[in-house]
Amino acid sequence: MTSQEIVVHIKKKRITELLASGKRVDGRGLTDYREIRLEEGVIERAEGSARVRLGKTDVLVGVKIGTGTPFSDVPDKGVLTVNAELVPLASPSFEPGPPGENAVELARVVDRGIRESKAIDLEKLCVVPGKLVFVIFIDLYVLNHDGNLIDASAMAALAALINTKMFKYEVEDGEIVKKPGYTPLPLIDYPIAVTFAKIGNKLILDTGLDEEQVMDCRLTMTLDKDGNICAIQKGGGSGYFTKEEILEATKIVLKKTEELRKIVVKS
C-alpha cells in the first residue's frame, strides 16, 4: 500500500466513527455548509465573473460572450457552453493537460443545471435566426480544491451570469453593430446545486476534501427557483444509495437550495 492509501484508510476510520455519533471532523453539523464567501466582478475583462469560496475550496468563474452560428435543430436560440479547468496549481492531484473525466463531469453537471432550468433565455440571444447568435462561454476555473467543487462551481457560475453585462447592439445588414451602454443577461431562473455525500450510512452536505476521499459516493441535485428538480448526478465512487436515502435527500435539498439561493441572488 502507498502511504497515501494508508492515510485514507486511517481517515476513513476516524471520519466514520465521528459520523456515527453525529459529528464531523471540522465540528460542523451534517447538513451545514462551510463559510461561503462570494465576490462578483473580479475579472474586468470578462463580461461577467464571480469567485466563490466554500471554506478553502476556491472557484473562479468567467463568462465571455462571443458570436457564432446556432445549432441546426434550434436555429432561433443562442448557444451555451460550459468548460471546467482543474488548474494544476489548485491541488497536488491535478495535472496539466486536456480535461480528464473529473473536469468533464464537473462541467457537464453545471451545464445541465443551467440548461435544464432554462436559466438563460436563449431565444433572446438570437440575432439572425439560423445564421447568427450569441454564444455564452462559462469557464469554471478551480483555484483551490478542498472538496465539493460541484456546489461551489454551480454557485459561482450562477453568480457570474447574474454579474454579466451585455453590450447593447443593433443589427445592420445581418451584422452586429455595438452601441454604447450595457444590459444584463436575460436570466429567467436561478438553479442551485446541492451535493450529498454518503459515508457509511450517513448523508452529509458540503464535503471537505478529507470526507470526499473516504466517501462511498455522492449525489448532486439541482433545483430551479420553483423547487422543481432539473438535474441529478450520482457519482464520486463505487458506493450506492437506497431509494429511501434518495427521497430523504430530496427533502433536505428543497430547504437547502432556498437558503443558498438567497446568498447568490440578492435582489
Partner: protein, 260 residues
C-alpha cells in the same frame, strides 16, 4: 388492419426524426404503440464474442448494443493499478453509423461522462477486492442508438461481467423513466427523450436494494421525481428477470449440445 396502418405511419415519422406534435395520443398510447408503463421489446444473449472473456448482446427497441469484457488482468498502464483491489476501465462508445448524423468516432465529452458514470454503476456489484493490482476492461459499443443507451449498456455490461465469471454481489440492471406530454412514462426512446420534459436513468441491484446510477435532466416536481424512480425500478425488476434467463439459457444451450 387499421391499427397496423396507423402504426407504420407513426413509425415513419419516427424514422425521419421530425418533431412529432404529440408523443402520447388520447388513449395513452405512445409513438411506438406502447402503453405508458410498457418496456420496449428486449433481447439479450451472452457469450457472443469468441475472443472476449465475457460478452453480451442486447437489443431494446432499436437499440443494438454489444459489450465485451476482458480480465481481470495486469493493470496497464501500471500507475492506474490499486494495491488493494481491481480497477474497472470502462469505455462507452457509439459507432459512427449508430445515429442519424454520422458521429465522429473520437470520444465526445458526453462519452467521457457516460463511461465514468457507467463504471461507477458497475463497481458496487463486483468483488474488486478479490483481484488487487488488476484491471477489468468493459467495452460497450453502441451499434445503433434509440434512446436509453446508457441504461441498456449497463444491463448488457453486467451480463458480460457475469459471463466472464467475475464474482459479483448481484447483476446491475438499468432502466429510465421520465415525463412526456405531461405524463410519466418508462423506458424512453430517442424522440421521447429529446422532445419530452424529463429523463431519469436509474441503475439498480435488486437483491441489495442499491441504486448505483441516478441522473436526471429536464424538469420534475419532487413528487413526480419519486414516481419516476418507482417506475424506473419497476422496469429494472422486469429486465432483471430477463437478464437471469439470458445467463441461464447459455448453459441450457451447452447442455443440449452435449446431449446430442
Amino acid at each position: 388492419m387499421k391499427a397496423t396502418k396507423k402504426k407504420t405511419k407513426k413509425e415513419k415519422e419516427n424514422m425521419t426524426n421530425k418533431k412529432p406534435e404529440k408523443l402520447i395520443d388520447k388513449k395513452g398510447i405512445r409513438l411506438d404503440g406502447r402503453k405508458l408503463d410498457e418496456l420496449r421489446p428486449v433481447k439479450m444473449e451472452v457469450g457472443v464474442l469468441p475472443n472476449a472473456d465475457g460478452s453480451a448482446y442486447l437489443e431494446q427497441g432499436k437499440n443494438k448494443i454489444l459489450v465485451g469484457v476482458y480480465g481481470p488482468k495486469e493493470a496497464h498502464p501500471r500507475h492506474i493499478a490499486q494495491q488493494d483491489r481491481a480497477v474497472i476501465q470502462c469505455r462507452y462508445h457509439m459507432a459512427p453509423f449508430s445515429v442519424d448524423e454520422r458521429k465522429s468516432p473520437a470520444p465526445s465529452r458526453r462519452d467521457v461522462e457516460l463511461s465514468k458514470v457507467i463504471r461507477e454503476a458497475l463497481e458496487p456489484a463486483v468483488f474488486l477486492e478479490y483481484y488487487p493490482k488488476t484491471s477489468i476492461q468493459v467495452y460497450i459499443e453502441i451499434l445503433q442508438a434509440d434512446g436509453g443507451t446508457r441504461c441498456a449498456g449497463i444491463t448488457a455490461a453486467a451480463l458480460a461481467l457475469a459471463d466472464a465469471g467475475i464474482p459479483m454481489r448481484d447483476l446491475v440492471v438499468a432502466c429510465a423513466a421520465g415525463k412526456a406530454d405531461g405524463k410519466m412514462i418508462v423506458d424512453l426512446m430517442d424522440t421521447e427523450d429529446k422532445v419530452g420534459e424529463a429523463d431519469v436513468p436509474v441503475a439498480f441491484m435488486p437483491n441489495l436494494n442499491a441504486i448505483t446510477l441516478l441522473q436526471m435532466d429536464g424538469n420534475l416536481s419532487v413528487d413526480e421525481f419519486e414516481t419516476a424512480v418507482n417506475m424506473a425500478l419497476d422496469g429494472c425488476n422486469q429486465l432483471y428477470a430477463l437478464q437471469k434467463e439470458a445467463l441461464k439459457s447459455k448453459y441450457v444451450a451447452v447442455e443440449e449440445a452435449e446431449e446430442k
